[in-house]
């Protein structure tokens, strides 16, 4: 039993007035009351939040945990610990593994490994097609029964419009969404950067924003057609956000997420850094204008979630000249701070509740999990404690993740998680965060 005192409680929708105390018992939130109103049972371990935010455990909809098959990059243990240390209590593991997570036995493997790691909850995403080959539907019903949280062929778009339409209908019967990686591949062959000034000045092949927009519009048309729920992941272009905004106005069942890197880094950094491969990612970093459009999307509700697209690689695959380096940014352990720091530096362009929802209730609704992303009496005790005033430097060498390269290396960021709790168990505490708590 735990007794969390003096926290500012964000319940998934609103930040409560004043400070709150919470009693956590048997993995659930047993009681919520204004601070100092009640005396808990003797046995409770007291954790004093001293005014820090208590939020529902953060959910990352999109991370590459590389397990099974690419454990030199990451595995479920390192990945789920990294998630916990990054402030997440739930992380959705992408299925582009080797073999791909395309059947119930592999879904079970991921769940069991995640369970035994004892860190953040790992929810497997199943692939839409067998072997991620884009030809036949994978056994989604079997995977759903085993515990798959969503379906995606991420890394690639679902190969054809017909297949995506079928998958949407099939998943809709199961009450689940399809997560689409929107990219028209014929426009992005060999692409390394955005098709903007950096591409012009370096000659690197550019991925035009139209490649994303075409796939976004395809998805919207099919979601409209079927009435099924399509989730568009890692949107990077102004035009994509505009298309989603319109679709939502038309009542189409569309949700989307954006990444911390597309919210804070733009393509100019590639040239400025002398083609440092830390900035190589797909979709590529776009223009400053696109970056601003993503923030507008956060502000007006077009965006439902912030997801990391954490893409860890071994140093030998990433510490290479730009063109041969692997594409992907590792961020699980700094993503929350990257976003809160940017939100603070921008002068809090919208309320903190909106920002917190993008890590909690927003992603929970994409996963259609009503038991996650909120705190009320009786709910699962997944909790992220956040210290908006805490400043800390990003040091990848101290990460739980196996990744050692990140664009934010050495940056002093403000606004860090200081503790994560899953089902009432403390799974991570920031040792220098000033919070007196012990890991369970």
């Amino acid at each position: 039993m735990k007794w969390l005192v003096n926290g500012r409680l964000f319940d998934g929708e609103l930040l409560r007035e004043g400070l709150c105390d919470l009693v956590i018992d048997k993995g659930r939130v047993a009681k919520i009351a204004p601070a100092g109103r009640f005396v808990p049972p003797e046995a409770a371990t007291k954790i004093d939040l001293d005014g820090r935010i208590i939020a529902p455990g953060f959910i990352d909809l999109h991370a590459h945990l590389r397990d099974p098959g690419q454990e030199w990059r990451e595995d479920i243990v390192s990945g789920s610990r990294a998630a916990a240390a990054g402030g997440f209590t739930t992380v959705v593991a992408m299925p582009n593994t080797d073999p791909p997570i395309d059947r119930s036995s592999l879904v079970r493997y991921v769940l069991e490994r995640g369970q035994s790691a004892g860190a953040a909850r790992v929810l497997p995403a199943g692939s839409v097609t067998k072997g991620r080959r884009g030809q036949e539907l994978a056994e989604m019903w079997f995977m759903a029964n085993e515990g798959a949280a969503i379906f995606t062929d991420d890394g690639l778009p679902v190969s054809t419009a017909h297949l995506l339409r079928t998958a949407l209908l099939y998943a809709d019967d199961l009450g689940m969404a399809i997560m689409e990686h929107p990219e028209e591949l014929s426009l992005t062959k060999d692409a390394q950067v955005n098709d903007g000034p950096c591409a012009a000045r370096s000659g690197l092949k550019g991925a035009p924003k139209s490649a994303e927009l075409i796939a976004v519009e395809r998805g919207i048309a099919l979601a409209k057609d079927t009435g099924a729920h399509l989730h568009l992941t890692h949107l990077s272009a102004e035009e994509s956000l505009e298309a989603v905004r319109r679709a939502k106005e038309d009542g189409i069942n569309i949700t989307c997420d954006v990444t911390p890197h597309h919210l804070t880094l733009d393509e100019s950094l590639i040239e400025k850094s002398g083609y440092n491969s830390a900035y190589k990612v797909n979709p590529p970093l776009r223009s400053e204008r696109d970056l601003e459009a993503l923030w507008e999307g956060l502000a007006d509700g077009t965006v439902d979630a912030i997801a990391t697209d954490h893409a860890p690689y071994h140093l030998d695959e990433k510490d290479l000249p730009f063109q041969e380096a692997a594409s992907g940014i590792a961020s699980l352990e700094c993503a929350v701070a990257v976003v809160f720091d940017a939100w603070l530096k921008r002068g809090k362009p919208f309320g903190i509740e909106r920002l917190l929802r993008l890590f909690t209730a927003g992603p929970a609704s994409v996963l259609r999990k009503s038991d996650l992303g909120r705190i009320e009496e009786g709910s699962v005790a997944d909790i992220t404690a956040l210290d908006i005033g805490r400043e800390r430097r990003v040091e990848a060498k101290r990460w739980e993740s196996k990744a050692r390269i990140t664009p934010w290396e050495g940056s002093a960021l403000c606004g860090w998680p200081v503790m994560t709790m899953r089902e009432g168990k403390v799974i991570w505490v920031d040792g220098d965060g000033g919070l007196h708590a012990e890991r369970d």
Binding site: Q192, D195, G196, P197, A199, A200, R201, S202, G203, L204, G206, P208, G274, Y275, N276, D316, D319, L320, P321, F322, Q323, E324
Partner: protein, 309 residues
């Protein structure tokens, strides 16, 4: 005289004074090439390694001659006959070269940004970019600049038309920067499919009609057309390309009388340039080659011998 740059990766951070200093220095080196015994002791005891991951005879030979004329020891490390063929990483290769005592590494590589990567990884040796993918070819730009400057004097207000496959050309990217830095106006021409999408960020005027692009030009700079661009569907045929964009005597008549015709070589006769123009009195192609040796001598001298710290 001082030279503060340790590496030569690109000229896009050079000031006008840097170009002018290099042109003066090149002029001195050029006079060595006229001597009967063309050897100076300036870089005795220095080791220059040419490491070429892409086939290039002229650039490599030019660096080799330049180094040797200044008495440096020049070693050619060709990627196919060396560790690269054994799968050694670039990083390990250049650390090996540095451990062997290389003072400068001239690198030619098919990928953008490789020289930046080397400069970051090397502790002591200077890096000279001999061409990185589609990105930059700074010594080509400098030799082009020197060729033009020697013939025309000040390049302020001069019109330079660069014609052809700008999209894939490291020569064009470096030349645009270099010519603009010394006051010239640069026009680009070629089909839109061979231009970068965001062409405005190249800081030059784009004119798809070649006749208008070279109208009154002081310098007409033709780029080599690679057959594989046709295979990639960027233009329909070499024949059609030649008819639209090939430099013929008639077309050259649009440029200023006596305009310089330049080309980075090797030329494709009958594609981007007609033989009669390539062999004609306005062709500066061989003068560019000679300038290449002088420019590389000047650079090696400035980088390895010009400054005592």
């Amino acid at each position: 005289m001082s030279w503060r740059r340790k590496h030569l990766i690109d000229v896009d951070d050079w000031e006008r004074e840097d170009f002018e200093l290099l042109l003066e220095q090149t002029s001195n080196m050029d006079s060595i090439l006229d001597r009967s015994i063309k050897k100076a002791p300036a870089l005795r005891g220095k080791i220059v390694v040419n490491i070429f991951y892409e086939p290039s005879t002229r650039t490599r030979t030019s660096f080799e001659i330049a180094g040797k004329l200044l008495s440096a020891d020049v070693i050619n490390w060709t990627a196919s006959g060396s560790s690269a063929a054994k799968g050694e990483s670039l990083r390990d290769t250049i650390w090996t070269l540095e451990a062997m005592g290389a003072d400068a590494v001239v690198i030619r590589h098919g990928e953008v940004g490789v020289p930046y990567y080397l400069a970051e990884k090397l502790k002591k040796a200077s890096v000279i970019n001999g061409g990185d993918g589609t990105h930059a070819h700074p010594t080509q730009a400098l030799l082009d600049l020197y060729t033009a400057w020697r013939e025309l004097g000040s390049l302020d207000g001069k019109k330079v038309a660069i014609v052809g496959d700008i999209l894939h050309s490291r020569v064009a990217r470096s030349d645009i920067y270099a010519f603009k830095a010394v006051g010239a106006e640069v026009y680009l021409s070629g089909p839109s499919t061979l231009m970068p999408t965001d062409i405005n960020s190249l800081n030059a005027m784009y004119e798809p009609n070649i006749a208008e692009a070279i109208e009154g030009a002081d310098i007409v700079y033709m780029l080599r057309i690679q057959r594989e661009r046709q295979d990639a569907g960027l233009f329909p045929s070499l024949d059609e390309y030649h008819r639209r964009y090939g430099l013929t005597d008639k077309l050259l008549g649009k440029a200023k009388k006596g305009a310089l015709v330049m080309h980075p070589g090797p030329i494709n006769r009958g594609v981007e340039i007609a033989s009669s123009v390539a062999d004609g009195p306005q062709s500066f192609v061989l003068k560019q080659v000679r300038a290449g040796v002088a420019v590389r001598m000047a650079l090696l001298y400035l980088m390895l011998g010009g400054v005592k710290e």
